[in-house]
């Protein structure tokens, strides 16, 4: 049965037929990571580490600091000023440098950094506005007098007492991330309250932490190349080395095991694009109303059980399949109804309405056809979604309390270290189910009616191959495996039998992975080529 699957490619595929030793040497290197982390490299070829990396908060902070230090030396500014500038330019050092070197004064003005000595508002402190006379010891906020040491002003010279500066800064932090761009207390003054000033004013530890966290969040959330892991409670950051175009999905896997699309932050959805995924999800929720309507307006034929949709007001129904005539209300045979039951069930009424509603019916038929087309894709999308969750449950059983693997290990007298291929296969199933799901979304949006022509056929051919291989793999990991789980059956399970299972499952995993890689590759990159080759003549 194995050879039937492995026909697709030559050479390397032979290895799994007999040379299990090769497989083992491969696996033994994975021993340590077995069951503790999900290794990106081994899953359906997606989420390859080379294009992204996973960072913890500390290393993200170090990266931010490094960028700040580098910028400050390039622009000959303090690190606090460099930091403020970087934030303003969304941490894009190239844009910052370009604008800085072409129009420094303008940039300084926008960000709120003064040119030394230039904007000094000497003597124009708020004490003037309150009292009409300059009194450097009077704070214009609380109207108290202070010794000089208790007054504070930034380079702009607007002096207020430290206590007022302190409440001003704290209030800003309490208000949220906008505190990163807090300006001088003096309303007419544009001077930015930089990080060093803020931290010298605010002593409260909780608020200082919050302020530092705002900086980190700004760095992660505003840099194009960084994203928080979207798993609940995970604080890791994914860094993408080469950001894809806005609608091009990029699968990334956090070290916590969570897999998501870097571009849109949602669950992975290749080969569908991010916008396709979004449209599809919206459509599903919108159509659910229509589907409910159909369910509410259809009943199974009392004879053949096929769902019948009630088209018009009349209660006289005729099943399109078995021609059984019945009453919509009581589901009784129509033959039992007659004059006695009155005009409510009148067939004449039905006919006259039928004529007058010809146009209405046409519209209905069209709506029905497009709904049926949608249903075709939705049902398959949904079925694969369900299978995907089933496979996830199975995978959980490999680590949960039931721990199927330990049982298999005992029953087959095989060390755990050599069983990695089982969860591996299961992960492959999950990954492929997910991909298969989204190929239906892809199909729905790309192969509309006849115009797709041969491309649609080619797509369905690839999809069919992949799906067939996946069914075999899924069956093998969910059904065949159980022979080695139940102890009673295991008494006479020979080592040979288990080895056979191993090579079958390992082989199927690889073949299926190849099929899916090919499928996704063709759909994502090959469409133009397919067009050229098969052309929608």
């Amino acid at each position: 049965m194995l050879s039937a699957v492995s026909v697709s490619s030559g050479g390397e595929d032979d290895s799994f037929d007999s040379e299990e030793d090769l497989m083992f040497s491969d696996l033994s290197s994975e021993e340590d990571t077995l069951m503790t982390t999900e290794d990106a490299e081994h899953i359906a070829g997606s989420a390859r580490k080379s294009v992204f990396e996973c960072l913890d908060e500390a290393s993200v902070s170090r990266k931010a600091e490094a960028l700040v230090v580098q910028t400050s030396s390039l622009l000959s500014l303090s690190t606090h000023e460099a930091k403020a500038l970087l934030r303003f330019y969304k941490w894009d050092e190239n844009r910052l440098n370009d604008e800085w070197f072409s129009e420094e004064a303008k940039v300084r003005d926008k960000v709120g950094l003064l040119l030394e000595d230039r904007d000094k508002a000497s003597g124009e402190g708020t004490s003037t506005s309150a009292q009409g006379a300059v009194d450097p010891s009077l704070c214009g906020i609380c109207f108290e007098n202070f010794p000089e040491d208790d007054m504070f002003a930034m380079e702009c010279g607007h002096g207020f007492c430290r206590s007022c500066w302190n409440s001003y800064s704290q209030t800003a932090i309490d208000e949220g991330p906008s505190c990163l761009q807090l300006r001088c207390i003096q309303p007419s003054c544009n001077k930015l309250v930089t990080e060093d000033v803020m931290l010298s004013l605010v002593q409260d530890a909780a608020r200082r932490d919050k302020y530092k966290q705002f900086w980190l969040r700004s760095f992660v959330e505003e840099s194009r190349k960084l994203k928080w892991c979207t798993a609940p409670g995970c604080s890791m950051v994914l860094k993408c080395f080469d950001c894809p175009a806005s609608d091009t999905p990029l699968d990334v896997r956090c070290d916590c095991g969570h897999l998501f699309c870097f571009t849109c932050g949602e669950e992975t959805h290749r080969p569908a694009t991010c916008s396709m995924r979004e449209k599809w999800v919206i459509k599903n929720s919108a159509e659910s109303e229509n589907l409910n309507w159909i369910l509410a307006n259809s009943k199974p034929c009392p004879k053949c059980k096929r769902p019948i949709e009630k088209n018009y007001g009349c209660m006289h129904m005729t099943c399109a399949v078995c021609k059984h005539e019945f009453c919509w209300l009581c589901l009784g045979a129509w033959s039992e109804h007659g004059e006695r039951t009155g005009g409510f069930y009148s067939c004449n009424k039905y006919k006259s309405k039928d004529k007058s509603r010809g146009a209405d019916r046409k519209r209905r038929d069209f709506a029905r056809a497009s709904l049926e087309r949608y249903m075709h894709y939705f049902e398959r999308w949904n079925a694969n979604k369900a299978s995907c969750s089933k496979a996830r449950e199975t995978l959980d059983r490999f680590r949960g309390l039931e721990d199927l693997l330990t049982q298999v290990s005992t029953n087959t007298r095989t060390p755990m270290s050599q069983l990695a291929f089982i969860p591996e296969a299961c992960k492959q199933v999950i990954e492929c189910r997910k991909t298969l799901m989204w190929t239906y979304t892809y199909g729905y949006y790309n192969f509309d009616k006849e115009k797709a022509g041969n491309m649609k056929e080619f797509f369905e051919f690839l999809q069919g191959d992949a799906e067939y291989s996946l069914e075999l793999l899924h069956n093998c990991v969910e059904v065949d495996l159980h022979k080695f789980v139940d102890a009673e059956n295991c008494g006479d399970v020979s080592k040979g039998e288990f080895n056979e299972f191993r090579s079958k499952l390992t082989g199927l995993t690889k073949v299926t992975r190849d099929y899916f890689e090919k499928l996704v590759f063709e759909l994502e990159n090959g469409l133009e080529e397919i067009k050229a080759r098969y052309g929608s003549v």
Partner: protein, 151 residues
């Protein structure tokens, strides 16, 4: 809680040297609550009207802006039916260096120059943009009906 020196001083000055066309006095029960009257600026549709407002200094004043509201009905694109005022210094442009006096002067200025492009009441603002003359007439009518209480 004792009244901060700032509030005491501001109050004293508001009473001793009131700004032209504006009066503000603290209520007897609550020194943070002010009864305010603004006289409709001349050459505005509100000329001849006397507008009552309430002003409240929240606990964190002056770090937070005072809360101000018109009590007299007024037809103005930046003031809604409840008398709430759309004014930047009462929101994100607030600075603790501003004072009650500055706020009230700004409101008075807002009566002189309505800004239908940053509306609070969309219906009023639309009429202001589409037919300014009739909007001004409505505002004058409202001034006569609601803000002239000689009767």
């Amino acid at each position: 809680m004792a009244l901060p020196k700032r509030i005491i001083k501001e109050t004293q000055r508001l009473l001793a040297e009131p700004a032209p066309g504006i009066s503000a006095s603290p209520s007897e029960e609550n020194a943070r609550y002010f009864n305010v009257m603004i006289i409709g600026p001349s050459t505005s549709p509100y000329e001849g009207g006397v507008y009552k407002l309430e002003l409240y200094l929240p606990e964190d004043y002056p770090m937070a802006a005072p809360k101000v509201r018109f009590l007299t009905k007024i037809y103005h694109p930046n003031i809604d039916k409840l008398g709430r005022i759309c004014l930047d210094i009462l929101k994100d442009k607030w600075s603790p260096a501003l004072q009650i006096r500055t706020v009230l002067l700004s409101i008075q200025a807002l009566l002189s120059s309505p800004n239908p492009d940053d509306p609070l009441d969309e219906n009023v603002a639309r009429q202001w943009r589409e037919d300014e003359n009739s909007a001004i007439n409505t505002a004058k009518d409202w001034t006569r009906i609601y803000a002239m209480q000689d009767n």
